[in-house]
Amino acid sequence: MSELQNSLLELIRRTSAEIPDDVNQSIIASLEQEKKGTIAESALKIINQNIQLAKRKSQPICQDTGSILFYVDCPVGFDQILFEETAKEAVKLATKKGYLRQNSVDSLTGKNDGTNVGPGAPAFHFQQHRSPEVSVRLVLKGGGCENVGAQYSLPNEKLQANRDLDGCRKVILDAVLQAQGKGCGPGILGVCIGGDRATGYEMSKTQFLRLIPDRNPNPELDKLEQDILKTANELGIGPMGFGGKTTLLGVKICAANRLPASYFVSISYMCWAYRRQGVTLDADGKIGKWLY
């Protein structure tokens, strides 16, 4: 096995079995905030136990090991084809070893060949930069929470949402209301304002690469993020929708240019089983450092 394949296999194992520290801290903080003796508290306790147990056993945190999303930053001249081929082999191997569930189905035949590799799976997003460093980030995005994602086209008459930040606020909070606990909350929102239907959702997912406690450098978006987080947690939806104080752990919003004719707000919901990890790779494909 090549060094690169080895490194990617370890990246997959760790992403599937270990929640990044910022998410873990955020869950522990919300556990302390919930009223003692409530169902919300019990739910968060079990979630926290599950996180510890999965790490100790090196087993998937959730049996839905999700869509496999690679984000690669690389220098000019980096061999992307080789990377993709190697990553696909690593995914197959990780599936054999049980780090990933046999989780990818041919949409036409309904067949699951048990490899997790097929058209569009896994997904790769490459970005070139001018530094020599290669970094690979991996997100495993669950299906239950993907199902509660939503895309709104503004203006939205029913929600009285216009083409401004207040309109965005209204539709984002509507998505939280509609999702209730069905996306295995407490959740994290990744949002893109603008773009087209495809780039909007794509960019909403890149927000999951951010750390939970980070702040948006754009003051207007930062204000919106803080406002939605606070408001959502006042709604009383709570973990799993059982009622309680913790509905969301974080809100991350970006903006993209749009056409004059369209104004999309694309919202992706990430469940508490927020699996994201990343590594830098040296020239041989060996892991340099862990990114989260």
Partner: protein, 191 residues
């Protein structure tokens, strides 16, 4: 915390109300999409699958064969229940099921069937695959393994202190409806 032990007879089930936390012990059978459709279409169960006064668990577990030939559940969290809404009420009625474990809640037809026939919906913690697998002390048997494949088969589990919350009771109450109405009202104040 209420201990709920097999057999889950009607009195025990009717005594439960939404918001109760329970620890389930005894036999539960898994069943998800393929099983529901099969039973709804009039399919027959093997005589060993005794659903009467039993619990059906919406779960597609990861179960590994051990060296001695026995099975072990290594990940076993709930799957989304609402997909079974078209079938669930009929199955509760026909098979005398007393409890359905899943996640995300169910709709009005199931709610009505729970009330009429004495059944509850038990919400497990979505994603807690490891904690819940640990509660499965024994895999007693598997049915329809060839026919439906591993995740869709009927697994007979012996569970101990499996945690869940009653979110639909046998009195017509639904925690999902209550929380939705309350959160909708709270949101309206903040728009």
């Amino acid at each position: 915390m209420i201990k709920l032990t097999f057999p889950f007879n009607e009195d025990k089930i009717r005594a439960l109300k939404v918001g109760d936390e329970v620890l389930i012990s005894g036999v539960v059978f898994t069943g998800r999409d393929a099983v529901h459709k099969y039973l709804h279409d009039g399919g027959q169960l093997p005589p060993e699958v005794k659903l009467r006064d039993g619990i059906l668990y919406h779960c597609g577990p990861v179960v590994m064969k051990q060296d001695d030939g026995s099975w072990k559940a290594t990940a076993a969290g709930p799957t989304t229940s609402i997909r079974e809404e078209p079938y669930q009420a009929q199955i509760i009625k026909d098979f005398g099921i007393r409890g359905v474990i899943g996640k995300g809640g169910m709709g009005d037809k199931t709610l009505a069937a729970c009330k009429e026939f004495g059944c509850v919906y038990l919400h497990a913690i979505g994603g807690a695959a490891q904690v819940l697998a640990d509660c499965i002390k024994k895999v007693r048997n598997v049915y329809f393994y060839e026919k439906f494949g591993a995740p869709e088969a009927i697994w007979e589990f012996e569970v101990q202190d499996f945690p869940a919350v009653v979110t639909i009771d046998a009195h017509g109450n639904s925690l999902h409806k209550e929380v939705f109405a309350m959160s909708q009202a709270e949101l309206a104040k903040r728009l």
